[in-house]
């Protein structure tokens, strides 16, 4: 069975508008929370639900909320992370575009739980049109009395703002996001202190992903225990997966946690199999920053059990044989795909997006990209492959924020699982069209 909790009313015509959303039972969670529950009771339900952050790291949301410092007389903030810049991930956009009021409703309920009277949705600049949709929804919510002073006649008040970023991947990292929101350069902060203690404007702050906040609505409505019954083990509830690549039916799917990967790729209900009847070569399961896995390992764990769409099953075996569920950006590659080319594309991205604060990421991401380009253009050596391996190992785990890891993991996993392909590029260089062009672009120094 596949239950939908977030995209339930997705197909209802006009669901973007307040009236239709309200007719479908919208804003009931705000009513329930504000009228019948204490703020801590809402947090308690979220804890019981076992909901894990949908932004990538999968940290338990209830626990994160309970870490929030509550010194008297100090403002608290809830910030929604709608930056969504991970290549391969587009689920938040879909949700905000289709059912904007679900996010607004979640923001109100979550803000109430956290005791925040001002909340922000920080959205990437490229989603400008989505920000317009959200602004309209917020306007409607104000008009209907769900936002503003003394909501539903209670003593709870909330103001909600949308802030558009300028289009930098790093502003999705929660502390860089807060810097950006404060009007500064989007550089990640050095932790500790964590945002739960000193976040936006130095005040206690919770940063949550769009999908995480939206999930608060069904959790409050049906209760944490009911929500926790969906899924497998510590991966509870439903998850939005943005599926792309060489599949017959790319799109955003709401799955119950625990669907076997094989079913997700091949069943008609989801991706509908590989395009043109080709064979599966590899999958990047959780957005471009997670390790890439070859077909045999993505379908089965190292122990030979079916791999499931859950945090635990994806990570089974560590990075030697596993990967991460991440943000749910599921990129499928068929047998004709060049891993090296794709890796270069990812590397280009991380090189471009490094904020430049710490030396390993600032210098290492560019170096990796250049070596990959060299290999792709048929000028690589076997030593270059070892060099790549070495560089990624010197970035991973040594930087301020996880962007360094995000740049290193794809390189490590591609070499680990597809080394033969790299060697092929080195031994039988095919893709070289114009050697001079290569040297011109790279102004390669003579050895």
């Amino acid at each position: 069975m596949s239950r939908k909790l977030l995209l339930t009313h997705n197909d209802v015509p006009g669901i973007q508008s307040y009236e239709v959303y309200r007719q479908q039972g919208g804003y009931a969670s705000v009513e329930k929370a504000l009228k019948t529950m204490a703020p801590d009771a809402v947090t308690e339900e979220v804890k019981k639900s076992g909901l894990r952050g949908r932004g990538g790291a999968g940290f338990p949301t209830g626990m994160k909320w309970s870490f929030l410092a509550k010194p008297p007389g100090v403002a608290r903030y809830l910030v929604c992370n709608a930056d969504e810049s991970e290549p391969g991930t587009f689920k938040d956009r879909y949700l905000m575009e289709r059912i904007p009021h679900l996010l607004v409703e979640g923001m109100i309920t979550a803000s109430y739980a956290l005791g925040a009277n001002t909340s922000f949705i920080y959205i990437r600049g490229e989603y400008f049109y989505v920000s317009r949709i959200l602004e309209k929804a917020i306007e409607e919510a104000y008009a209907a009395g769900w936002l503003g002073r003394n909501i539903l006649g209670t003593d709870y008040s909330l103001d909600l703002y949308v802030q558009v970023g300028a289009g930098a991947y790093i502003c999705g990292e929660e502390t860089a996001l807060l810097e950006s929101l404060e009007g500064k350069r989007g550089n990640p902060r050095i932790k500790p202190p964590f945002p739960a203690v000193a976040g936006l404007y130095g005040c206690p702050t919770v940063v949550n992903n769009v999908e995480t906040i939206a999930a608060v609505v069904p959790i409050v409505m049906q209760g944490g225990d009911e929500y926790a019954k969906i899924g497998v083990g510590k991966s509870t509830g439903t998850k939005l997966i943005s599926a792309s690549g060489h599949i017959n039916k790319p799109g955003v799917y709401e799955i119950e946690m625990g669907v076997p990967v094989e079913e997700f790729i091949y069943s008609e209900k989801y991706c509908g199999g590989i395009r043109n009847g080709k064979k599966l070569k590899a999958v990047v399961a959780g957005g471009s920053s997670v390790p890439i896995l070859p077909a045999d390992l993505i379908l089965k764990t190292a122990k030979g059990e079916p791999r499931l769409m859950t945090y635990e099953s994806m990570a089974d075996g560590g990075f030697a044989t596993g990967t991460m569920l991440g943000s749910g950006g599921f990129i499928v590659m068929d047998e004709d795909t060049s891993i090296v080319k794709n890796l270069w594309n990812f590397s280009r991205f991380y090189h471009h997006e490094s904020c430049g604060q710490c030396s390993p990421c600032r210098e290492g991401t560019g170096w990796m990209e250049k070596i990959l380009h060299k290999i792709l253009d048929g000028h690589g050596t076997l030593e270059d492959i070892d060099l790549l391996w070495d560089i990624q190992s010197k970035i991973e785990g040594k930087t301020i924020c996880p962007l360094g890891d995000a740049a290193a993991w794809p390189v490590a996993s591609a070499i680990r699982h597809f080394r033969a392909e790299f060697e092929e590029y080195v031994k039988n260089p095919k893709g070289i069209k114009d050697v001079k062009h290569y040297y011109r672009i790279h102004k390669l120094q003579e050895a």
Partner: protein, 341 residues
Amino acid sequence: MAKVTIDGKTIEVPDGTTILNAARMIGGNVVPPAMCYYSHLKTSGGYCRTCLVKVTKGSEKDPRPMPKPVASCRTTVMDGMEVQNMTAPDLQEARAGVVEFLLINHPLDCPICDQAGECHLQDLGYEHGKARTRYEFKRRTFPMTDIGKYIKLHVNRCILCYRCVKVADQLCPGRVHGVMYRGDVAEISTYIKNAVEHEMCGNMIDVCPVGALTDMTFRFKNRVWFTKPVDAHRSCDKCCGKVRLWYKGEEVLRVTARKDQWGEVQTFDGKPGWICNSCRFEHKLTSDWVIEGPSHIDRHSVISANHYELKEGHKKTDKPRKNLEGKRIQLGEGALDPNNK
């Protein structure tokens, strides 16, 4: 108080002390190198990653090791913490990696750099660097710019340690300078052709660990190891007035703040001894200053070549010295006195 053990040496330090500062209290080679941390600049540190250490035991309460190396300059100690610096081979390897990254876009042309002899990256490269680089691509290059009438900026050598940015932020109100762009094209710059002119901006030159920010009144006038550093002071209403004069013969070629053994500006009366532009750039006559005596220079530094200091017990020479301000004194045991005519 918290008890912390670094490379097998235990020390008790006040709560809130960073691992780096605890290591500095122990001294010797347990002290990790620090290219971006500067104790007198708030929120400095964390950027360069040269000070990474391994925490093998978190604390008495939670003895689990930390999963990744941590920046010792930004991580505070916990009671019972155990840390490895020199004793962890994999950490030394990681540090060598950081040095390699830092040297990708920092030219190894020390012989012609104004900072040679005072450069911590040079030391670091010497200690951790490899004889050959594995980087074969083009390095980034920038033209040199004058960012005001006293400071020349050469971004080629900049390692983006953010120290000058912190000086601009914390010592020079009305900021006109910072980091532009991101990633490996990020560069220190003044915003839209502004000039860095605040009275305290000269301190940027002192905090720059490499030769990216240079003193236009001194640059390339001499090699630093041919000059003689002498401590001196004057009364100044803008700063502490305690400086180091760098002599060549009888001429003061350069004035800087006084630095401690960590290469940071010294503390006087509990305050950092930043100096103003007027002391630094406009007072270059011996008569402007009260001379205190030769500066202490660490033996590891090339500046200590041909540099002799009086040791405590040797202060008295056979022939009685006149006071240092006197016109003529007998040079005792290599004491260098610019007032000696």
